[in-house]
């Protein structure tokens, strides 16, 4: 079932896992008071491909740490720098941090970026395309591109409605996608002042639902809180290429925890989490244009199975390794963090 499996217990649960390099990730607490931000180095054994047997090192190393005054709901690494940006989910302002430097192990707060509106529910989404710019916003009406060093606003998204966002990401150097909780998707180019393209949400099978979006290599997936998944082409979001009813416990979904993501190094694979204590991998290439129930290709149930807490455990975050095809990291509400490399049984 697994080629590699590592199970860790953090002192406090995290809602964020963000790659800061090919071998390090940042995690952070989300309690209402003071929280830690940690940069962890993944175990050496995971990367020792040829001489794996000779490497006994299976542990995370805490390489840097810092303290945040409030919860950390969103954390983004600014590529090409040693900076990360966070949002506390209470306002749309962002905090800027520098990781390490001067031979120190501290993650230090070095600045902030003001959001367009001071108060917002649901917190801001953040996307970092280049090393000096940040795209952020909590609603479709307050998305802006800010110059990191000067604070200058380079672009603002103008929309008619103020839909809360569930995702914000770049699909090219200047074109970005803003996915709203109501299923609407805006696509805009930061170089132009032209109006964004709006694609309304797909017809929901389960009544009023929330939607999450992820885009990669020209495809877009939208997932609803009732487990409905729709695959579209980026250039034609109005049409669905395929869809399916996923096998998720939709009645228990926690909006803050749901994540859907395309595998960066595998074709047509998505990972879904936040509905329970499991992370599910689905292969979208077998989906059709008729509504059908599908089963996951793989299900990582480790968090629920090995949980020591009495309450139900929820997976709060997952990320794919950018290069290793089947390696993922997942975190749950009990503070556990797993690193796993799954085996595709269908290929055996």
């Amino acid at each position: 079932m697994y080629k590699d499996l590592h199970v860790y217990q953090l002192e406090h649960p995290t809602q964020v896992i963000e790659w800061t390099s090919g071998r390090t990730v940042c995690v952070a607490g989300y309690s209402s008071s003071k929280n830690e931000i940690l940069e962890l180095h993944l175990p050496l054994k995971l990367f020792a491909d040829e001489n794996k047997g000779l490497c006994a090192e299976r542990d995370f190393k805490v390489v840097h740490g810092g303290f945040a005054e409030g919860p950390v709901c969103c954390l983004r690494h600014v590529p090409g720098t040693r900076c990360v940006v966070t949002n506390d989910g209470l306002s749309s302002d962002l905090q800027v941090w520098t990781v390490g430097g001067d031979d120190s192990d501290v993650i230090r707060r070095t600045g902030s970026v003001k959001g367009r509106r001071s108060v917002s529910e649901g917190g801001s989404r953040i996307a970092a395309p280049l090393s000096s710019q940040l795209l952020h916003g909590a609603r479709s009406s307050d998305v802006q591109l800010t110059q990191l060093t000067s604070g200058q606003i380079l672009y603002t998204l103008e929309t008619d409605s103020a839909d809360p966002l569930s995702s914000l990401q770049f699909v090219s150097d200047t074109v970005f996608l803003a996915g709203c909780c109501n299923g609407n998707v805006y696509i805009a180019d930061t170089r132009t002042s032209a109006a964004p393209q709006l694609s309304p949400g797909p017809a929901a099978w389960g009544g009023s639902v929330l939607w999450w979006t992820d885009a990669s290599a020209g495809r877009v997936i939208r997932l609803s809180s009732s487990g409905q998944a729709v695959v579209s082409d980026l250039r034609d979001l109005g049409e669905a290429v395929s869809w399916a009813q996923l096998d998720v416990q939709s009645h228990r979904c926690n909006p803050d925890d749901v994540r859907v993501s395309w595998a960066p190094a595998l074709d047509n694979c998505i990972a879904v989490s936040g509905f329970s204590g499991a992370v599910q991998i689905y292969k979208t290439s077998v989906w059709g244009t008729e509504r059908q129930d599908v089963q996951p290709l793989f299900e990582h149930r480790g968090h629920a199975v090995s949980s020591q807490s009495d309450d139900d455990v929820f997976v709060t975050a997952h990320v794919w390794h950018p290069e290793r095809p089947r390696t993922l990291l997942s975190a749950a509400s009990d503070g556990s963090v797993h690193v796993w490399d799954w085996v595709d049984q269908s290929e055996l």
Binding site: L40, E57, S306
Partner: protein
């Protein structure tokens, strides 16, 4: 202010040879005396020149304490005691005392015989060193001398590992050595009471590690063994007589039972005897589960694990063999290795660190061609797996331990160049205590605030209560007077009368006198009367008496008036007061002088 000083010694900048000096209450203690396994020269030994530039260490150290038998904690002990020179007591637990010399001898053999080193301790030195050892029992306070006492606590980690509390008077330090906060299959978890030491000393690597679960490590081990067995291969697991071997046996036995596997598992001869012998001696050091098993049956009575015979190594088909010694440097494990190394279906699993110079060390470094005795080479075709099963605490564990012991200060030994500000800040914030991180050779000084307990006599307490006024309150302390007697080892606060009685001393009264000259034509009694009247009107609320013997008393101050022999208008006022009233006298005297040299008084003097 009293202080405790802590200096980590040690070679090189990395953690690896624990050796910490503590100065507490005038006593000097050495904690652990480890060897750095990565160096071949003097850098592998701690730098003892910090204690003294030349000469023996005996007069500079009150005792040496060893936490457990791992070489990075005791490897330099014979060198320190026999080659540098130390004749004082060396404290360690019973299991450590039994196992240490075996590991040291093995290590010595490898270093001298295999690597041909000359400046190394000899077998005799190991024996002489162990003669200085005083064994410790858990939770038992041992008096090193009149003032220094030590106590060992269970640390988990390996058989016999201890955390040690060092106490002088009311100052104390706890050193953790290596410890583990979660029980494993054959050892319990570390435990300490809320002893509130002034300093808790531990290693920083704990706090910066988040350990992979035991389950995953075991899963990996079982998976590797199973894969080899499935393809018909043989698995060799070189082990030391006990500890990890126990753990892995229990694991395999359970797995074999669950998966209904048929391949044989063997223990090499000698292993079972040694292991049983040690466990009988040290059963109290293992955990509850093992103890229960041992009572019912022999330690090594497993359903699927049998005693090994040399000839079995040539049997066809899959098998698993546990054999000593652990680093493949000699004996049976090496013999078996030589037979099995040439087949790629086979596997060797190294469950622990191997010292430089051993075959184990070479194959773990990827060497695939080994030079054996008689110039022959051995091709290493079998799979080599390095798995670490050693039980260490981690970031979460160290916080748990701090919560258990409630130290007033934290001290982390690290030796790494990187500043560990985050870690320091985390501990300081979470527990509101200072966190010190001295580098090797650097001294951390911690100021302590020892409380000195004093007994107070009941009579004195009653007397103070009888003085009335508000009850003493921690926010509003009240001064009280008494005499402090230090007798034998106790301190008592008693009334002065009781002190005089107890000590057989006579009470002496001190009275002071002073003379003030005054011009006054009146008669002596008249002057005295005027003084009396004026004082009465000015010093209201004080007891002022005019006594028939011709004196005026203000509280206990006595005032007499007499005339100078030459001139009757020159009056000499004699003032006398006791030592107890010194403070009051100063106040009175100021009033008195301002009174008799006032205009009113002069006018009255002239007028009458």
């Amino acid at each position: 202010m009293p202080e405790i000083k802590v200096t980590p010694l040690g070679a090189g900048q990395d953690v690896g040879r624990s050796c910490i000096l503590v100065s507490i209450g005038g006593k000097n203690i050495m904690l652990d005396c480890g060897m750095h396994m990565g160096y071949n020269d003097d850098r592998r030994f701690p730098d003892f020149s910090y204690i003294t530039q030349n000469g023996r260490l005996t007069e500079f150290l009150d005792c040496v304490i060893i936490s457990h038998f791992h070489l990075d904690h005791c490897g330099a002990l014979p060198f320190m005691s026999e080659m540098v020179g130390y004749d004082g007591p060396i404290y360690m637990t019973h299991p450590t005392k039994a196992i240490c010399p075996i590991l040291l001898e093995d290590f010595r053999k490898i270093t001298v015989d295999k690597k041909g080193e000359t400046n190394f301790f000899t077998s005799q030195m190991i024996k002489d060193c162990m003669k200085k050892v005083v064994p410790l029992n858990l939770h038992q306070t041992v008096q090193v001398d009149d003032e220094l006492e030590i106590k060992a606590y269970y640390a988990g980690h390996v058989l016999g590992a201890a955390m040690v509390q060092i106490k002088v008077g009311s100052e104390s330090v706890v050193y953790t050595g290596d410890y583990n906060m979660t029980p494993d299959r054959h050892l319990g978890a570390a435990w300490i009471d809320k002893c509130r030491p002034d300093i808790l000393i531990s290693e920083s690597t704990y706090a910066t590690t988040i350990r992979d679960s035991k389950r995953c490590r075991e899963r990996d081990f079982l998976k590797k063994v199973h894969e080899s067995i499935e393809r018909g291969g043989k698995v060799l697991i070189p082990v030391f007589a006990l500890g990890r071997a126990q753990e892995l046996c229990i694991l395999l036995e359970t797995f074999w039972e669950r998966m209904n596997l048929k391949a044989p598992i063997y223990f090499s001869t000698g292993l079972t005897e040694k292991a049983n012998h040690y466990y009988k001696l040290f059963i109290t050091w293992t955990n509850q589960k093992i103890r229960k098993t041992f009572v019912q049956r022999n330690m090594f009575e497993f359903k699927h694990i049998k005693a090994f015979d040399r000839s079995y190594a040539d049997n066809p088909g899959p098998m698993v063999v546990f054999a000593t010694p652990g680093m493949l440097h000699a004996g049976q494990s090496l013999q078996i290795f030589k037979k099995w190394a040439g087949n790629e279906k086979n596997m060797v699993i190294m469950p622990g660190y191997c010292v430089q110079g051993t075959i184990g060390h070479k194959i773990l470094n990827g060497q695939r061609k080994l030079e054996m005795e008689g110039r022959s080479t051995l091709d290493v075709k079998l799979q080599v797996e390095y798995m670490s099963f050693s039980a260490h605490a981690d970031a979460k564990g160290i916080m748990q331990l701090i919560r258990m012991a409630e130290p007033r200060n934290m001290l982390l030994v690290h030796g790494e160049a990187v500043k560990m500000e985050f870690l320091k800040g985390k501990i300081e914030q979470e527990f509101s205590i200072d966190c010190h991180m001295p580098a090797n050779g650097e001294t951390a000084t911690v100021t302590t605030n020892p409380s000195v307990p004093v007994d107070i006599s009941l009579n004195l307490l009653k007397r103070e209560m009888a003085l009335g006024g508000p009850l003493p309150d921690p926010k509003k302390p009240r001064t009280m007077h008494g005499t402090l007697i230090m007798k034998e080892n106790s301190l008592k606060l008693v009334s002065s009368e009781q002190a005089l009685k107890e000590l057989g001393l006579n009470e002496h009264q001190l009275r002071f006198t002073c003379r003030v000259q005054l011009q006054d034509p009146h008669s002596d009694p008249d002057t005295l009367n005027r003084i009396y009247t004026h004082l009465k009107s000015v010093l209201k609320g004080y007891t002022i008496q005019h006594l028939p013997d011709g004196t005026v008393m203000v509280e206990s101050i006595v005032i007499k008036v007499s005339s100078s022999a030459e001139d009757t208008s020159t009056k000499v006022l004699l003032l006398s007061w006791s030592y107890q009233d010194d403070v009051f006298f100063c106040f009175f005297f100021v009033s008195f002088l301002s009174l008799i040299f006032s205009k009113q008084w002069l006018r009255d003097s002239i007028d009458s």
